[in-house]
């Protein structure tokens, strides 16, 4: 019969590829129990339900422990507990119940940033996480249409309640100012509006808050990077040079603000013609991947240009929910787990500790 120590030593051979440490020292193995008959059971607690190596971890754990002498069976319970970004002495005053904040930015407009943000949020939700989506695009809010949630938010106890759709908690300026009237704001007002959507909205307990930023490297992005310690930022671009060049600028801006780049996402990467089946690369291909390599940041994946993605965005159902088997939906799910894995790494970072005497 193996001792707990021997079992943990066996499991310590499993390394988390993103965190670079073994799963035992990361505290992922819990509630270890060995029955008198030699049945070993334990909980394997991942840092995200969207873990890209979940199945591999489970079979590795079963194999490692099963190979020990005297073990008659192995029960692995796979769970996940998203850890807050950054180890800090006290919880953040802004967004206190939110564990991870993920910004989606682009630099250039029209590259599908909101589509990516909505589908990443939906994919993280599908994996089992509690997810919110804040649409910080004051001038061109797209989230209400893309999620079929064109309703006015309710209020309670002086706070706005997020709108719920597809299991997501949503807040957009499009909810607060519906209809066809534009929001005409100067820069400082944009900053105030974004702060209000974080402070005055009762987001509750969330594993991930995905923030859909407007294009550009100005007020909105700067306000956000100043108001909350962002876990990281994922940059969306299309493959052609004119888009990747601007995406690089956005990424460098966040680097200067000490926000970790989670990586680059290439949208509209290719198009498969429904009549001839031929693959067209309308906006070129691979631009984001080579830019990521040049900048030394992860390349998170490529999403095809599909009519279905656009149709579903217009009818208000994210493609990862409406057509989970499509190439587009599969790409979003894969990218979501890459983002989640990169995000987990940030949980083990420490913000500077300041002490005034």
């Amino acid at each position: 019969m193996p001792t707990n120590q021997q079992i943990l030593e066996a499991l310590a051979q499993i390394k988390d590829p993103d965190l670079g440490r073994d799963v035992v020292s990361l505290g992922m193995i819990k509630e270890l129990d060995v029955s008198p008959q030699g049945r070993v059971s334990f909980t394997f607690e991942l840092t995200t339900p969207a873990c890209p190596v979940r199945d591999r971890f489970k079979s590795q754990a079963e194999d490692m422990v099963g190979a020990l002498a005297g073990v008659t069976g192995v029960d692995v319970r796979m769970t996940a507990n998203v850890r807050p970004s950054f180890m800090r002495p006290k919880p953040s005053e802004i967004l206190p119940g939110v564990k991870q904040t993920i910004a989606i930015a682009s630099g250039k407009g029209g590259v599908g940033k909101s589509t990516v943000a909505v589908n990443l949020a939906a994919a993280l939700r599908k994996s089992g996480a509690a997810v919110g989506l804040l649409d910080a695009d004051i001038y061109g809010p797209s989230v209400p249409v893309m999620t079929g949630s064109r309703v006015v938010p309710q209020q309670a106890n002086g706070h706005l309640l997020p709108v719920e759709a597809h299991g997501l908690k949503l807040m957009s300026f499009g909810h607060l100012n519906p209809g066809d009237q534009p929001t005409i704001y100067r820069g400082p007002m944009v900053g105030k509006a974004i702060e209000a959507m974080m402070v005055q909205v009762d987001w509750g307990q969330l594993d991930y808050l995905v923030i859909d930023l407007p294009p550009g490297t100005g007020d909105a992005s700067l306000t956000l990077a100043q108001a909350v310690p962002l876990t990281g930022v994922a940059i969306v671009c299309t493959p052609q040079d004119v888009a990747t060049d601007i995406a690089v600028k956005a990424l460098q801006m966040f680097r200067r603000l000490n926000v970790t780049p989670l990586g680059l996402i290439e949208n509209m990467s290719w198009y498969v013609c429904p009549s001839c089946g031929h693959r067209h690369e309308i906006f070129s291909h691979g631009g984001a991947e080579s830019a990521a390599k040049r900048l030394g940041v992860p390349f998170l994946g490529a999403i095809p240009l599909e009519e279905g993605i656009r149709e579903d965005a217009d009818t208000g159902i994210p493609v990862v929910i409406s057509r989970p088997e499509s190439a587009g939906a599969r790409a979003f799910v894969e990218i979501a787990s890459q983002v989640a894995a990169r995000t987990s790494i940030q949980s083990f970072r420490q913000l500077p500790v300041i002490n005034v005497r």
Binding site: V228, P229, L257, N258, V259, P352, I354, V356
Partner: protein, 84 residues
């Protein structure tokens, strides 16, 4: 003020040192106009005493002094260079 950094380094600052290093436009000057810190030779004690420090995102500190001056956003890089 003491700071324990992510890389394990520790740095210490006096209020006086930080006040004179204030990076804000009023103190440094802008658009060719000289700032306040190049025009004065001494600052009163309440201008040098730190009242409050707030983390700005994850790249800087906003330091408020007893005089009410709080417009300086000290980036981590700036703070590290001050003691280098």
């Amino acid at each position: 003020m003491d700071i324990a950094w992510e890389d394990g380094a520790h740095t210490t600052y006096t209020g006086e040192q930080l006040r004179w290093a204030c990076p804000c436009a009023e103190c440094r000057g802008e658009a060719g106009a000289p700032g306040r810190l190049s025009r004065v030779t001494s600052l009163s004690p309440e201008e040098l005493r730190i009242r409050d420090v707030v983390l700005v995102g994850q790249y800087a500190l906003q330091i408020a002094f007893e005089s009410g001056h709080n417009t300086g956003i000290y980036t981590f890089g700036h703070l590290r260079r001050l003691v280098a």
